[in-house]
């Protein structure tokens, strides 16, 4: 009996320790980024583009990367939404009764979700060669759009499925077409759509491997779709490799900025989702 009790206590202790390690790793990461990034943080960092060449130049900030990231993540999310909303509606409204087919489609998006961003990057690069587009803002947006479509479709599909069947039936029985019903459903899931947008934006702004080949890099803020653009993750990645301490510091500061942006986005989407489900029940 004592042995059994001891075993129970031992494993319970292990579990507590494991839980501390797993949830503590979050604080460890954020703590490290803050510790290194805060000393280099100043107003110039977010209001100026780098001076004197990004690899060696000591002045300026990373405004080019911030704006580039916003353009790429924003553009990709908008393009992705235009494609994903119809897809999510189609799976849920028009494929009723064809369970096998809709499950296969869902499976396909699960699989697409699992494909690493480097493969999307490589594929985006192939597309760019095929269509003769140079590494540019446009190329980056295309590659990231491919990356976020599965995220958007999966999230939208999930929230549409929480809409009670009665709502749909009521709309349909009033004589509205399936498309009109879809509009009713879309209104019902609006907070869910915001969550999907946030999730997609958060993923898009943080991804490197997909923009590595496709967006190029530039010290300037892009003024057209065909100019190369910098992104925050790329700026972090490149600047960390610099031998100049100030440039490395700029990398740490960029990491801090990106972490804060992503954390705010994640927290917002969690809150939205929580409110959405609370309203449901």
């Amino acid at each position: 009996m004592i042995k059994r009790k001891l075993e129970e206590q031992f494993f319970k202790l292990l579990m507590v320790l494991a839980t501390i390690v797993v949830s503590g790793s979050f604080f460890l990461i954020v703590g490290t980024i803050f510790y290194k990034g805060v000393p280099y943080m100043n107003w110039d960092m977010i209001s100026k583009t780098p001076g004197g060449g990004f690899y060696i130049g000591k002045e300026g900030g990373v405004l080019n990367a911030i704006v580039g990231s916003m353009y790429i993540a924003g553009g990709a999310t908008i393009l992705g939404l235009i494609i994903s909303i119809p897809v999510a509606i189609f799976i849920n409204m028009y494929m009723d009764g064809k369970k096998f087919l809709s499950n296969t489609v869902r499976m396909a998006f699960d699989v697409l979700f699992g494909i690493p961003s480097i493969v999307y990057g490589a594929f985006g690069f192939l597309l760019m060669i095929y269509f003769g587009v140079r590494a540019s803002l446009l190329g980056g947006i295309i590659a990231v759009t491919l990356l976020v479509i599965p995220i958007l479709v999966r999230t939208l599909d999930e929230v549409i499925r929480t809409v009670p069947g009665e709502l749909r039936d009521a709309a349909l029985s009033l004589g509205s077409t399936r498309w009109e019903t879809a509009k009713v459903v879309l209104r019902a899931i609006r907070p869910g759509i915001y969550t999907a947008i946030l999730l997609s934006f958060g993923r898009a702004i943080g991804d490197v491997a997909s923009v590595l080949f496709t967006a190029g890099f530039s010290d300037n803020i892009p003024t057209s779709l065909h100019e190369p653009a910098a992104t925050l993750p790329l700026a972090i990645f490149f600047q960390l490799g610099s031998p100049v301490a100030e440039v490395q510091g700029r990398g740490y500061a960029s990491a801090l900025i990106l972490t804060i942006v992503v954390l705010v986005i994640t927290v917002l989407s969690e809150l939205l989702l929580k409110r959405f489900y609370k309203n449901k029940i």
């Binding site: 129970e8 320790l17 990461i29 897809v87 189609f90 494909i115 690493p116 992503v262 994640t266």
Partner: protein
């Protein structure tokens, strides 16, 4: 709508075909066996052996899984079976936040924290000298990256375990841990396997974080303190030169194809297991 759906679903095939099409030149020149089994990587001479890269990927992924799996299963068990609901509500958001952190931040953390840790505290006990850049560092960083994935899936699986099952075991006089060990874990095994397979495929494709901490040396690692050069890092590091050397682009696209095929298979396997489970629980 039909058009968009068909187009985005067929993306799976289009990516596969596109990558395969670009790999044809190298597949015509070298056989699959040569490509996968050879360790000679001399792009200028037209020799492309992927063996060191494949081994690098396997080492890093293996280390990550060995670290992450026990930790995550224990954490999930604690969160679902033991923790009071208030603590659970407090803990889960941090796991979710972790999943939102971009790979490059994990990479920075690896460089700033894990590398010095290995260099000054861990490696000296085992080997003469290590810079810290090693497959171990890659494995640790990857392990932290796949924490949220495994924890969330295993949580989900554990929560679907029927209460009667636990009650029956407890009523027979088993302690809580005995119930977990002999009843719950056994019943949850398919779900845990699915989570593991999914985590492996995620770890396989992770690029930037691993690239930043692995040392990127094209040799087959023999210990955890050796440097490694995983496949995704190879693709990411060399895209710049690939247009100037013949067959190089084809070789890199072949690497991407390889990743794509492996990850596709793993994903399908785990999704099939998970949907089966879901259906059994529902029915």
């Amino acid at each position: 709508m039909l058009l968009f759906t068909v187009a985005s679903v067929s993306l799976v095939f289009i990516i596969g075909i596109g990558l395969y099409y670009k790999s044809i030149p190298i597949l015509n020149k070298l056989s699959w066996g040569q490509l996968l089994g050879s360790s000679v990587w001399k792009p200028f001479k037209g020799l492309f052996g992927f063996f060191p890269y494949i081994m690098g990927t396997l080492w890093v992924t293996g280390i990550a899984i060995v670290i992450a799996l026990p930790l995550c299963i224990l954490t999930s068990l604690y969160i679902v079976e033991y923790a009071p609901s208030r603590l659970r509500r407090f803990l889960m958001p941090f796991v979710n936040l972790l999943s939102g952190i971009p790979p490059v931040i994990f990479g920075v953390w690896g460089v700033l924290f894990i590398i010095p840790l290995i260099q000054t505290y861990i490696a000296p006990h085992f080997v003469e000298y290590s810079t810290g850049y090693s497959v171990l560092a890659g494995g640790i960083v990857l392990a932290v990256m796949i924490f949220p994935l495994i924890v969330s899936i295993v949580n989900e699986v554990l929560r679907t375990m029927p209460q009667e099952l636990k009650d029956a075991s407890l009523a027979l006089g088993a302690t809580k841990w005995e119930t977990i060990k002999k009843v719950i874990l056994r019943k949850a095994l398919p779900g845990i396997i699915a989570a593991t397979v999914l985590a492996i495929s995620r770890a396989f494709g992770e690029t930037i974080a691993v690239l930043m901490v692995c040392g990127n040396n094209a040799v087959v690692p023999h210990s955890v303190f050796d440097t490694g050069y995983p496949l995704p890092a190879l693709i990411a590091n060399n895209y710049g030169d690939m247009m100037s050397i013949p067959l190089y682009d084809s070789a890199l696209m072949f690497a991407a194809l390889l990743l794509f095929i492996i990850i596709l298979l793993f994903n399908i396997i785990s999704r099939v297991i998970l949907t089966r489970l879901e259906r059994r629980m529902a029915g």
